[in-house]
């Protein structure tokens, strides 16, 4: 038994202490969190805009008077649909590589590229989550806002969004936990994220067990942590409505 622990200790030293290899994990974790956080914010921003356009079209498109506003809304809605179809119909790794090798071929700021790629990707999923949230809010809420004199946007902002957000929060949180794990393909475009960090150690030490399980454990801890965080937040939000 003690022999086992001795090998374990030796492996540990080889994988993480020698040549300060722990830094690969640490820096990789930093990149992973950075990419996830900013892609998440970007996804929310894109998702919100697309969701508003799509639900506006769904609710009012057919009733609107013909004219410039209706034409514009139709076109923008069509663009949103194309975006959703393309993004959800292709693998995120391919999107990432297209960003890296084609769109931003001249830039070597690979973390920024990953943020943009994952942000655009998650925006498509977030948009549909937000849209379902907006559509789930009773039309009467909207009418109450409008009847007080709030415009379309203000009604959305003060009345519909807060309720929609609350109702989609669990789904939304889940989407970001998925995103956190999805960023593990960032290594495809020379980004040293958490996964890549572990993989570099594996290549350098010929150890598989230690680096890969460490990486897996870190993802797991992160996911459990964020899941907890969300359930606390959810409980808070629920309490504020009784």
């Amino acid at each position: 038994m003690s022999e086992f622990f001795q090998t374990l200790q030796a492996d540990f030293i080889k994988c993480f202490i020698t040549k300060d290899r722990w830094k690969l994990i640490w820096d990789g974790l930093g990149s992973t969190l950075q990419i996830t956080l900013f892609a998440c914010l970007m996804g929310i921003a894109i998702g919100l805009v697309v969701a508003v356009i799509r639900s506006t079209y769904d609710k009012n498109g057919k009733e609107m008077r013909n004219g410039a506003a209706k034409a514009l809304l139709s076109v923008v809605n069509w663009i949103c649909n194309v975006y959703l179809t393309v993004i959800r119909g292709t693998p995120v790794v391919v999107q990432l590589m297209i960003m890296y090798y084609i769109v931003f071929a001249s830039s070597r700021n690979s973390v920024m590229i990953a943020v943009v790629a994952f942000g655009i990707n998650s925006g498509a999923y977030v948009a549909e989550i937000f849209r379902s949230g907006i559509m789930s809010i009773d039309q009467g809420q909207f009418e109450a806002g409008r009847s007080l004199g709030f415009g379309y946007i203000s009604t959305m902002l003060y009345i519909v969004f807060p309720q929609a957000f609350k109702s989609v929060l669990p789904t939304l949180a889940n989407e970001f936990i998925v995103l956190l794990k999805e960023t593990s393909v960032a290594g495809y475009v020379a980004i040293q994220d958490l996964t890549k960090g572990g993989d570099i150690i594996r290549g350098a030490t010929y150890e598989t067990f230690m680096p890969l399980l460490t990486v897996a454990a870190i993802y797991l801890i992160l996911v459990i942590f964020f899941t907890r965080l969300v359930s606390i937040l959810e409980r808070r939000l629920r309490n504020s409505e009784r």
């Binding site: 409008r146 009847s147 007080l148 004199g149 003060y158 009345i159 609350k166 504020s240 409505e241």
Partner: protein, 248 residues
């Protein structure tokens, strides 16, 4: 045009597709300080009429004048005019994510730029009038139906409207709560508020209305004082309707 007329509709029509004529050439006038009760069988277009007055429903054709302005004109900023037309819904439509107080202060603060303290002071004073001052910090889900509807009325009143529109405000309430809401409306009428009320409460119509409008099949069939309509209805559809609602 008469200065006293606050709302006037002109040949108002609302069609859903080809077949459903929810409103058919409705011409109506609401005068300042007047309480107008709209009655009629289900599907006769009462809600559509009421909701057309503040453009929650956009008419297929025809015009709505509010304080002399044609608000059906697309160039008009309807939001400004809606601030002066309070509306109360059958389903209350309070904002569930806000306390009663927030429900009441949101519009005055955001739309009229009222300071928080002033808006709260106003809200509390209005709440007090309907006997709900102590529920200011409650959430709508903690209130009874009757309380919710009283709050909804106060929410509209906090914008200091020129006219109040009610769409069956007591129809979603348990019978024992109807009275408290009608009482608030009666008080409001007494204070001189201009009101358009769609309701099945014939007692309220008789007692409070200055004028009763009877609608059927999307049109105004007849209108007159409660006395004229209830004691001496001219049209046989009015007679049939009154018979059916007064005898149950």
């Amino acid at each position: 045009m008469n200065d006293n007329v606050i709302i006037r509709t002109e040949n108002l029509c609302k069609y859903y597709g080809e077949k459903i004529h929810a409103l058919e050439m409705v011409n109506a006038e609401i005068k300042k300080g007047e309480v107008v009760v709209v009655i009629g069988p289900s599907g006769s277009g009462k809600s559509t009429f009421l909701r057309s007055l503040n453009l929650l429903e956009t008419a297929t054709s025809g015009k709505v004048y509010f304080e002399g302005v044609d608000i059906t004109d697309p160039k008009v900023n309807i939001n400004i005019h809606r601030q002066k037309m309070g509306m109360v819904f059958q389903q209350f439509n309070l904002f569930p994510h806000m306390t009663v107080l927030k429900n009441l202060t949101l519009a005055p603060m955001k739309l009229k730029g009222m300071k928080a303290e002033k808006a709260e002071e106003l809200a509390l004073r209005m709440l007090d009038k309907v006997g709900l001052k102590d529920r200011a910090n409650a959430y709508p889900s903690q209130l009874s139906g009757g309380q919710k509807q009283r709050v909804a009325i106060v929410r509209a009143l906090c914008m200091n409207p020129e006219v109040m529109l009610f769409d069956e405000p007591t129809s979603a309430l348990d019978p024992e709560m109807v009275g408290e809401v009608l009482q608030v409306m009666k008080d409001l009428a007494k204070e001189g508020m201009t009101m358009v009320v769609v309701t099945h409460e014939m007692g309220f119509a008789k007692e409070v209305a200055d004028r009763v409008i009877f609608m059927a099949e999307g049109a105004i069939i007849e209108e007159g004082t409660p006395d004229e309509i209830f004691s001496n209805p001219g049209d046989e559809r009015t007679q049939g309707f009154l018979k059916s609602v007064l005898n149950v």
